[in-house]
Structure formats: C-alpha cells, structure tokens
Symmetry: none
Amino acid sequence: MPPGDSIIKVAIIEDQRVLREGLAFLLDGTEGFRCTGSFGSVEQALSRISDDLPQVALVDIGLPGMSGIEGIRIMKGRWPDLLLITLTIYEDDEKIFDALCAGASGYLLKRTPPARLVESLNEVVNGGAPMSPEVARRVITLFNNVAPPGKVDYRLTPHEIRLLKMLVEGHSYKTAAAELGSSINTIGTHMQSIYRKLQVHSKSEAVVKALRNRLV
Amino acid sequence: MPPGDSIIKVAIIEDQRVLREGLAFLLDGTEGFRCTGSFGSVEQALSRISDDLPQVALVDIGLPGMSGIEGIRIMKGRWPDLLLITLTIYEDDEKIFDALCAGASGYLLKRTPPARLVESLNEVVNGGAPMSPEVARRVITLFNNVAPPGKVDYRLTPHEIRLLKMLVEGHSYKTAAAELGSSINTIGTHMQSIYRKLQVHSKSEAVVKALRNRLV
DNA sequence: GCGTCACTCACCTAAACTGGTGATAAAGTG
DNA sequence: CACTTTATCACCAGTTTAGGTGAGTGACGC
C-alpha cells in the first residue's frame, strides 16, 4: 500500500490506555505500518518520540497536562517534517481552527473506523490532508463566513468610510472630530447618515457591520 | 447507497461536451443517482436548472461567459440548499479560496476517478465536504499561514462573555439588562470589568476586540 | 476568619443619538 | 439657460445612553 517507500512509521499520543494500545495493535498488525511509540501525554512524547522519529503522529487534544494543540505547535516547530493528525472527540469550530493553525495536517474524529484511519495515514504521507466529513464541512463553512455572499455596496461616501475606520480604531466622536477638524455635532450628523445606510442605530452596531462586511 | 432517501439528483455544468456527456452517462448508469441536466455554461444552467432542481451541482470553473465561481455565488444565493461542488483542473490557492468563499461545499479535481466522484456526491449530501487530497492540504495550509493566534486569555467570566456577545449583536445596556434580568447599573459595572480585562475604554472598542480575538 | 472573585445596585458625569437647518456643488430637467 | 434634485458636509439644542466611582452581598479557598 505505501507507494514505493517501505513502511510508514506512526506514533500515538493518547491518554486513554485502551485506545492507545488498541491503535498500536492495529498499526503493528497492518501491512506497511509500524508504531514507533505510544505516549499518554505530550510531555512523554516530547522526551521520547525522537528515539525513533515517525513520519506521522496521531495526537489527542484532551490530554492531561499540556493540551494536544500546544503539543502540535511545539512538535511542528521542533520537527517540521513530522506530520501531525488530531484524533479527538471535539468537533467545534474553535478546536478545529486552533489545531489547524497550530500545524496539524489532518483532523480525524475518534469515531473514524479503523479502515478509514489507515487510509488517512496513507493519504497524509502522500500529500493529502485527511479530515472527517463533519470536520471538512466545518472548515469550508469557516470560509463561507469569511466573505458574505456578494458583498453589498452601502454607498458610503469617502468621508463616511474614513470616519467609520476611525470608530473601529477606537475613536470617540470627540477625538474623531478633532482629527477630522470639524465639530462634534458634525460627526453626529455623519453618523446618522452612516446609520441610515447601514441600517443600524448605534456606534457599536455600525462597527460590527463594518468589520463583518470588510468595509474597513 | 443513498442512506434512507431515494435518489440523489445531480446537475452538471461543464463546457467540454465529451466530459459533460460522460459524467451524465456515469451518473445515470449508477444506482441511486440521476442527472437532471447538463449545461455548457452558467447562463444555460441558471435558466433551466430549476426545471428539475437537483440536490447537487458539479461546476467547472473555466467556462465560456460567466465563470463557475460567479455561477456558484449566484446559484447559492438563489437556491441556498443546493450543494455546489467544483470540478476543475485548477488547484491554485486563489481559485480554491474564491470558490469556497463563493459557497462551494466541495472542491474536486478533474482527475478524480469516477468511483471517488460518486463517493463524493454521497458524502456531500450527508453533510460532508469532499475535497481532492491536494486541495485539502492546500486548504489546511491556508490556515497554517494565517496562524499567529496570539490567543490571549482575558479571563472573562461566562456572564461577561454572554454580555459581550449581546453587545456584538447590537444590544444597548438597557435591552441587555432586560434580557439578563438585571438593572442597567449592573450592566454598567460588568462593562467596567470587561473594559479592565480587555484594556479598552468604550463599548465599540470592546466589540472590536471581541470580534478580532474571536471571543464571541 | 480573611481575602478574592463574581455579581448586584445607585449616583453623577461624559458621550452618543435625534431632529431640525443650511451651505455648497454636481447632475438632471424644462 | 435657469430651475430643481441629490449628495456631501456643516452646525446647534435637547434627550437618551454609556462611562466612572463607590459600595454591598454571597460563595469559595486557604
């Protein structure tokens, strides 16, 4: 199954003994794979994984001591070629986002069947990025939210956009007026115009809409 | 193969006649699938796809006339439940990013083998997000790059986070107080606490910091 | 029993919001 | 051409909302 080169070496970082040993057993019993180490914590892994450095490490997130995400960040820094795959029960956006940002090359849920797990290990060493379907959908949804469909044109004047930017940067009416060289009352009028165009009714709402719609 | 419900209806938007007809032939010849239409351009698809609206559309990017990415944006806006999968030769970051932002639920390369293509269609209607391995890796790499997650812990209490969320949603002190069942004055004090922890001095600044640091 | 923390409230000041008015210049109309 | 319309920027006064300070209670840990 491994294309050309011999054997895929894999390490496991997982605190539940049963699962950890089960995974090691699975890998050692599968043609083309070998488990080079199984560790109950990131700390253990950091001190002993380099005894026989694998190509891939399966990393749980909810670990005692240092979290798997922190572990991924450290290991990716120390061994840049080591491929890290999270194997976890968490499927919320935040964990997924943090793990991928920390340097994970894949994100699998623990309910992944063994056959698919083995397939995923093959995939990752061949330049892929295995993700459980639910995770993949969430990753893509993150993108969908980044750019709301067909950005709307609120027809703000340049002056209004400049003022809006200043509000986002934390200015009050007073400081904005000083910087723009006009009176507080004038700022108020411009704000009214901005509120009307953005269909909001407060400075905070305007700021939220400006950030979410990339107006600034 | 389709779990529970009967048949997966698929449309094809692809300008090369051979590939378009080949795909239609493949789908109609596969148990559980039916091709509801095959179109040579986005313009054609827009005018006729709703004659028999499918669950999924396979969309090429490099089309004559309107690009597939623009088509995805329009179709996603017009039929939000329609699942759109790009089927293209392009595997550069920009195309991938734009397609996903436009509303694609999957991104496949044209060299995807037919069996995998059929599998992907199943995956997408079951809430997944099929991507060719190379594409998945690039998507994940995008995350790795936008990575400096300064991830500070501001130690906000759950109550404070809830209040902060309400501000982002546009609440005033008054409406927030009503919804949280406390007085305006109490809200004011909580805000002071939030300001101290976030090191800001106004509602708008707090909202900006909350959005930028993904606190909400 | 002492300190810390989360939550509560009242009071007063500062800032933001609303409605009304007007000047100017560019674009469209008889 | 003169006339209206529209868009932009400007100002004030009055009301509403937000911000700053001080103070109190109950829960938890040491």
